[in-house]
Amino acid sequence: MTDSLETISHDLNIKTEVIPLGWTAALSRAPQVTITSENFKAERPKVVSLTCGGPKIGVKSFVFPEAPAWLQALEKKAPPKKDASADEPAGEEEKPRKPKAKRVTHIRPPGDVIKLEDRLYYLLQPSLESLVTSGAMEFPFEPFPYQFEGIAFLYPRHAAVMADEMGLGKTMQSISTMRMLLRAGEIRSVLLVCPKPLVSNWKREFNLWAPEIPISVIEGDSAKRSWLWRDNQTPVKIANYELLMRDQDIVGEDGGLHFDLVVLDEAQRIKNTSSTTAEIATKIPRTRSWALTGTPIENSTDDLVGVFEFLAPGLLTKGMNIKAMSSTAGEYIIRRTKDLVMTDMPPRLYRDAELHLSPAQQEAYEIAEKEGIVRLEDMGQELTVQHVFELVLRLKQICNFDPLTGESAKMDQLKADLEEVAASGKKAILFSQWTRTIQEIRKHVEPFGPLEYHGKVPHKQREGVIDQFKNDPSKHVILMSYGAGSVGLNLQFCEYVFLFDRWWNPAIEDQAINRAHRIGAAGAVTISRYLAVGTIEDRINKVLEEKRELFNTLFSDTGEPKKVGFSKDEIFGLFDLRSPKGPIRFAA
């Protein structure tokens, strides 16, 4: 049973009709699109460029000459000196070098070197100490720092005064500088002029401090000397002042010789510009000029002018203001005193023995002075400085010994002093102005093994005398004259110096004292200055003190000196005499 399915039909065909409304055309038209543009791109930024490289750097260049080939070979050959740590057993790890705090001395160019290249050449040289430590130059003893400074001072200078106090090693400093200049090839010929007694000393010092530098001593007859002067195989020639005078035709301007360096030892010899020695020395053709002297001023500043006529003629003039002279000459002079540089050096102990004349001496003195003054006064206008000198010398001799009896207050004191010296096994030097006094003293001090060293002792014997004094323990005293014994001798084993009478200027006395008080001195040096009170010696002593002050003033750049040299009035003033003429100066 199936139900019948009833179906209903619906017509889905809905009649549509287009009604023309006028829109049809509009519908067939493409829609109109309006475009609006927006610019998203920003403006191009401005760029600022910075230069990071900077401008080109300017460079100044200097090229220096290499040392001569032979020196390079020497430098290569020199074994480098090792520190103590370098000798440690092999296998131990090498430890970092711990440098010790050390002084470094560089050569400094003098003010008259103008070119920067030349100044840098000197400044950039290795330190002088490094020459020693590297083994490039061997020294028998390591120089003291002040000696390195002295070498650094001399090395670049064409004109220089080395005016160190006696005993500080002027000889060593000048030899070492010559050696360095020769080895650097900066000089090839040197002439060293010294007093005759010092020639052997210089020879010895050259052998010690510059053993590889050949030297020749100008000596012998005229033909031999002529050959020696012209021999160009030895770079260093040593001549004495006397020979210089004899051979002035050879060493003068027309002799055909030229030296790269001329060194004058004891240059106070040329302080008097009108002396023959000074005239000859200034005419030696040369490039460099050095003067060595412990006493650039002995009497007055004119002495220094004389030395500078050799070094730099015209730089100093007589009568120049002392401050102007000090500043002008300062660049050329190096002077150090023991007090300044050798702080560890034993002291100088002065002991002024003020003695009263013996009765006989006193009587002789008074008579001589009274008569002498009367005689001088009677001379009126005829009176000269020379006459006063004669009286001074006469009175000084009486202060030493009574001419009739031979009595001597000084001698009594000396004998007592020498007893003490000999008992302690020490040695002493005694200085006097006169050989006759020395010979008289000798008679009284025979127990002390006296030796003599003065102008009457032949030059050939002098070295033997010094050797004997040094090595013979029975010889406790050497009797010296100021003239022969005051320069160039090394007697630092003596601890006592006696000035039996006083010299005219303190510089000579200092030189004498410094025979004993110099490098190597074992202990304090006691200086006994014998002075007869109430006599001419007292009065001279006052003038000496004033002179000492003058010297200190010029070389310390401070203050003004009280007196400049001995004036004629001062000499006459010793006896309350009036000077008949104007002031004069004289050399001691």
């Binding site: 750097i57 460079v59 090229v63 290499e66 711990k98 705090a101 100044r119």
Partner: protein, 192 residues
């Protein structure tokens, strides 16, 4: 004085830079033969960084000025090639990036300081401290001195050691810098 045979002389360069206010930086290069004698000296005009350099180089400004600029300008003037360059300024080590020879840093010695500038006691006790403390260097012993090279050029150590041994170099490596400073002072009126 003889002329130098330029080909036969082995040399070492010592380079330092001195700072001077307000002058600027002054570079100095000293060329020594192996015995310590001077053969050449070159020094710069005063050098000052401009503002841009100061900003842009930042912490690398000193190595740039000391090494590339000053060191480069000085080395360019060498008349004879040096075996190596020694310097007492770490900033100069950067020069090595621009040249073909080793650059060794030599720390200032306590001895030199003691003499010239009164070094502090701490520094005196530790002379090699500077070389060891720098992070970008390699320290080693050379001829008894504590020296250093840039760690960018480590092989320089071997090169320098061989050089010192072969030529038995025994120079004081600190002292030449004193000379350079004195020379700069002489040339320019500065340096200390």
């Amino acid at each position: 004085m003889s002329n130098r045979n330029e080909k036969s002389v082995p040399t070492l360069g010592f380079l330092t830079v001195v700072e001077h206010t307000p002058g600027g930086l002054f570079g100095g290069l000293l060329v020594l033969n192996l015995a310590g004698r001077p053969l050449e000296f070159h020094c710069t005009a005063p050098v000052k960084a401009n503002r841009a350099q100061e900003i842009l180089y930042g912490p690398t400004l000193k190595p740039y000025l000391y090494g590339e600029q000053i060191g480069g300008a000085l080395l360019a003037k060498l008349k004879t090639p040096a075996l190596a360059v020694c310097t007492d300024s770490e900033h100069v080590l950067s020069l090595r990036d621009h040249i073909d020879i080793p650059v060794a840093l030599i720390p200032p010695s306590c001895a030199e300081e003691a003499v010239t500038a009164e070094a502090t006691s701490t520094y005196r006790d530790e002379p090699a401290q500077l070389a060891v403390a720098l992070p970008h260097v390699r320290s080693f012993q050379l001829g008894g001195y504590e020296v250093a090279v840039s760690d960018q050029h480590e092989t320089d150590q071997t090169t320098l050691e061989a050089m010192w041994q072969e030529r038995s170099i025994d120079l004081d490596l600190n002292e030449p810098f004193t000379r350079i400073r004195e020379a700069i002072e002489e040339a320019h009126g500065v340096g200390k």
